[in-house]
Subunit: 314 residues, 2 copies
């Protein structure tokens, strides 16, 4: 069932959302308050769709592009929509202003979802008349190649809104997960930086190089985490499952956890410079754009390998 | 160049090492001091090699099996070898005793590598006459399907030993990484449990379910970490590389790190039971063995996808 979607803000995230919704058969209205931004976004979206087509993630790029409608006003963009995906800059005042405006302008039964990545929803979704239909849907960069979307409920978000938002996102091939309560940094980035904080301490202390840390992840932990999470990994580490695993290895697990650095690394410029020097040897900054393309091709190849991120067929 | 290897201890790790070395063309002597253990290991190794053959990771299982020689004594097993891979139980007294015995019995120029996973090498490699040729080579389970091996230098390990051990392991398709100094839990498990500690706090606090935590990894962070580490991920997050990324997002990164739980989760039985109940709904304990086979097939498929873990050709 084709729906009407408004993508508000057309930076990298907004463009990816437009590609995601349009390839799945939805009608997409595009709006950005920066003059010329929407016009600049269209060829970028087409380029994204073309690269997805090479990986069999889009069947008909021209048809998908034909479903995208550039708009000159926010009111025009949200007229008659089922879902608004807001992806403006990460600034609490800007988010407050756009949510007030969207809540006034969007049809009363439309869902208004924010791509916000760290500001807690209570800071910009509180005291809105339509607070029940406002929700956080935080994607991972690049959203058209990484399935997970963190859904965080705001102070008045209804369960109906949660269900409808998840249904829409699952239908376009993403994987929504539920964050039950507000927490700074949300979950994905907290998990990422818990690991990175430990890694920074280890590199800073001279225990291991940044390059070997990367190898430990990509040739070690990442092999398992590509298709099962850490708890399932634990669960499959003992024939009696996770309970047997944690009781059998209580000493080793608890002992390792107690020995972790468990203090915020100061992110001092000296260490960041050392990391930069080390990265320069493997991927010089001049090669970063080419390596970013390599990364996206690797992500597309993994999508093909796992056969996911496909929109539901009508 | 075919080498002579002794695998001492034939539990899961020792069996996997035997398969790894034999498929790469090396001669493998097998020894375990438990009566009947070596005889029991042979069909298990053959079964591992057969499953690897299905994934094009072994060409000739019979030829690989013919290179494995069961031994009745440790002296016989280490006679004339180039490399000893010790994989006996994780107990410091047992490790001390076996290293004394191996250092006496193995040829003076043979390397003696331990599969030890957490005991620091100084606790069992100190005061050995041949300390220079002793080293830690800690694999990840299952080693024949996960490439990384943590190489930790002991108190007297020579650089020659490090180089030779890495050359051997790279030659059989593994990926050795260097840990420069002793640290409890080594690096891979510290990184794993830094992330898991944060995850335990988040699940315990009701922010997210264990199932959704697993989804955040496998459909989110794990997509990137399957082919690049966390530092390369950071490096590719800004066109100016890791230095630009950390200065641009200093506030968000440092802010998230400061907000991490950063205290050891108590691993209380109530939470472990809750995790077990939740896992039971997705993978009942009765299905764990079948799911372990699924995991190994997934790992083999990823090996095929990335085209690695192949031994060097002569």
């Amino acid at each position: 069932m084709s729906k009407k979607i408004a993508c508000i803000g057309v930076g990298n995230l907004g463009r990816a959302w437009a590609a995601i919704f349009a390839r799945a058969g939805h009608e997409v209205a595009l709006y950005d308050n920066a003059p010329g931004a929407v016009a600049a976004a269209l060829p970028a979206i087409e380029s994204t769709l073309n690269s997805m087509a090479e990986a069999d993630l889009v069947e008909d790029v021209a048809a998908a592009m034909a479903r995208i409608r550039p708009c000159e006003t926010l009111t025009d963009a949200v007229a008659g929509v089922d879902h608004v995906q807001e992806s403006v800059i990460e600034d609490v005042e800007v988010k407050r202003a756009i949510f007030r405006e969207l809540d006034r302008a969007a049809p009363p039964d439309a869902i208004i979802a924010s791509s916000v990545s760290s500001i807690p929803p209570s800071e910009f979704m509180a005291n809105l008349e339509g607070g029940a239909r406002c929700i956080v849907a935080h994607p991972v960069n690049p959203p058209h190649l990484i399935p997970v979307v963190e859904i965080m409920l705001g102070p008045s978000t209804s369960e109906e809104t949660y269900d409808a938002c998840c249904a829409l996102l699952s239908g376009v091939g993403q994987v929504p997960v539920r964050l039950n309560k507000e927490i700074f940094g949300y979950v994905l980035n907290r998990l990422q930086f818990a690991l990175i904080n430990e890694a920074l301490h280890l590199v800073d202390g001279g225990y291991v190089s940044a390059e070997d840390t990367d190898k430990i992840i990509k040739y070690g932990l990442g092999r398992r985490w590509a298709f099962m999470g850490p708890f399932e990994t634990n669960h499959l580490n003992a024939t009696g499952g996770i309970e047997e695993y944690y009781s059998k290895f209580q000493g080793a697990i608890g002992g390792t956890i107690k020995e972790l650095f468990l203090e915020p690394h100061p992110l001092n410029p000296e260490l960041i410079s050392r990391l930069a020097e080390e990265m320069e040897r493997t991927t010089p900054v001049a090669d970063v754009p080419a390596r970013q393309e390599w990364r996206d091709r690797q992500l597309m190849a993994l999508t093909g390998h796992f056969g996911d991120m496909q929109p539901e067929k009508d």
